[in-house]
Symmetry: C2
Subunit: 412 residues, 2 copies
């Protein structure tokens, strides 16, 4: 495949008139006037900006079905009266169509890979494969449903070696999993060399609770269990001490910041400055669509930047370049993905229509991507395959209809 | 004009299959199966949601040209080294094309009316008329440029009675205008019965400064000058005392909250809870594109809601319905506009494509508009005239090219 005459960012500068050649699943060459092979598919890149595909580093994708179903409630009644009763009625079919809907939205947003934790993980995997996205998938594990832990190892075995789906282990959090459960999760992750995907220090209540019961913070506790390492994906990390941050850095654990969800649930603001100062690898996620309520990583970047500026009392903090770097390089590092617009990297990318008013004038494009982007992803390519072209995704209408049906059945 | 078979929100519920008949500049009828007049223009509303056009209650529109030119800087070097030197080079032509670009973006975002404060106001008015938007325009006034005050009255005279453009008076702020200037601005506003558009208590420095020099807050000071009334549009109001809030309420002054800009410049978070408790009329604005950096009122609604939830430590604060009401009813009240989707109201509206993944499932549509909307405004109508149809705005490409040229000249 040849993307002809496209614009790129090179050290933040807009470079026009380049070609990107894709061979199989990788970027083979980037240059000027590359020769088209006979019969090679050509994509016109005129007036389009190529960016590496975005990574949504934390979500519960099938919760698209619950989008807008319950907002603006206190956490406990929200979970007890709304989310859990509905989730108890969820079927495989619901998760399949919810994940399809989530993939659809992510493709529209230029997201090419996501990291998920939910139920019926095989269904999410199946939907994701069909949609063509790359994903890291963990079945959620917690004590109230012992069957979930039992399902973990078979799921990993089924999907290990898949080209697009990478299985992982998803203990929900330290307040929902016993020490025994956490250690079993760790054992499985060690055995299959997978990531561990876990919520950490999301709320003050979680941290206070663990301090009361164990006399330590969630980060210290995970460290005592031997779970802090470069295979840990610690989501939220809102209520961290400086010591927690240095411990995460020392153990090379990864942190996923979900600013929009943390604000919407009024959980607080993660201390990004000292996480970064300590040298922790940070990346960004939207969280699930029932606490965000969309899957827009551009919005996540903007809200993260401006909320952190205000939290640290200076507009000079957290530049667009820094947030862009967290969202891209930080995510590649967390998931060990060979990404970016360079030769040899995975052919996971998006083309953005430059002829949109919010990208005009074409001055600092990184600033525009972070602060001003409000739509215009035109083409999304994953693993060398075109998933959206000229804004069209085959089968979109059916997915919207089926998701609507599943929602109506669930809430009937 | 007949919009056929469209969806509407009725007390938050999605109602399908309605027709909206527009006669001249007003909504004539809303109902089922309205009879089409011979030769009447028809818009297919199938799978579209009609909403009242949004109002952007504070911006400096021509600053679209400066979008991305200088971000992530401390306020003083930002103004001294970047914004002011560039603004000193601004010509009428720049303002004209900058305003055109801003109108283009607002039309794409479903904004049908905006409230502006800037230089070369006649150019902004001309651009806005050509683009077909409704606007309240004030030439900015401050002491360092005495000519600006001189231009105010002639500008008002030229535009009074215009169908789309309503002139107003725009003293910049209490720290840039002397008492004499403020009183002259008030005199002109009283004489022509116009709004006064002014920045109030945006930063702590502004409030501290006035307390030091005058022994009172900016709100108290404006009251002492007789400027607090229902014709006052007080923008920002971040650093308010509870007394300030009650005084604003008592005098029926209007407040424009600009959360995104306040965060990006790290100015703080407006105390919306006590403003609303006190009974102040509040509406929303994006501020200028060099401190936001877009003109997306959906994003403004979402960020306002989630930031306020977090500030008041409960997700139950500031529901989607409340924020939607502020953004719509609050704005109509501030500007005295007869708006909303009802018979007799101004025909200022937008149609949103319902077949977008972020609006699925169709559950709580107000929640989707506030929390999940990431594009899909399909049609924008102002004063009974279609400005965008099926996502197409005539002349868009020329505006993008001219704006790019003007930016390059300015920064050459």
């Amino acid at each position: 495949m040849l993307i002809e005459n496209v614009s790129l960012l090179c050290s933040g500068q807009l470079i026009k008139g380049r070609d990107i050649q894709i061979r199989d699943t990788r970027i083979a060459r980037i240059g000027k006037d590359l020769r088209k092979e006979r019969g090679e598919e050509v994509i016109d890149g005129q007036s389009k900006l190529a960016i590496p595909g975005l990574l949504n580093c934390h979500t519960h994708l099938a919760m698209t079905l619950l989008r807008g179903y319950a907002d603006d409630m206190e956490l406990i009644p929200w979970l007890h009266d709304k989310i859990w009763p509905l989730e108890a009625k969820l079927t495989k079919e619901d998760v399949y169509w919810g994940a399809k809907l989530g993939c659809l939205e992510q493709i529209r947003m230029g997201i090419t890979c996501y990291n998920d934790m939910y139920y019926f993980t095989d269904e999410t995997a199946r939907a994701t494969k069909e949609m063509g996205l790359r994903a890291f998938l963990s079945g959620v594990v917690f004590d109230m449903r012992p069957d979930l832990l039992v399902e973990t190892e078979p799921f990993i075995k089924r999907w290990t070696g898949d080209e697009l789906i990478t299985p992982a282990v998803g203990p929900h959090a330290v307040y929902t999993c016993s020490e025994e459960t956490l250690l079993k999760a760790k054992e499985i992750a060690d055995k299959y060399d997978t990531l561990i995907h876990i919520h950490v220090s999301e709320t003050r209540e979680e941290v206070d609770g663990l301090n009361l019961s164990k006399g330590m913070s969630p980060v210290e506790y995970l460290d005592r269990l031997g779970m802090l390492n470069e295979r840990l994906v610690a989501v939220h990390c809102v209520w961290l001490s400086l010591e927690d941050a240095y411990l995460l850095a020392e153990r090379k654990a990864n942190v996923v910041d979900c600013t929009v969800s943390n604000l919407k649930l009024s959980s607080g603001i993660a201390p990004l400055n000292y996480l970064l100062e300590a040298g922790v690898n940070v990346c960004l996620g939207t969280d699930g669509p029932s606490s965000n309520n969309n899957l827009n990583l551009f919005e996540e970047m903007k809200v993260t930047a401006i909320v952190q500026k205000n939290a640290y009392h200076t507009p000079a903090a957290f530049s667009a370049e820094q947030i862009w770097s967290i969202a891209t390089e930080g995510a590649y590092k967390t998931f060990g993905l060979d990404m970016g617009l360079q030769e040899g990297a995975l052919a996971d990318l998006a083309l953005i229509d430059l002829e949109r008013p919010w990208l005009c004038p074409q001055s600092n494009m990184i600033s525009h991507l972070v602060y001003s982007m409000t739509g215009g992803v035109d083409t999304t390519i994953v693993n060398g395959k075109v998933l959206m072209r000229n804004g069209i995704i085959p089968g979109e209408k059916e997915i919207l209809e089926k998701a609507q049906e599943r929602f109506e059945r669930l809430t009937a």
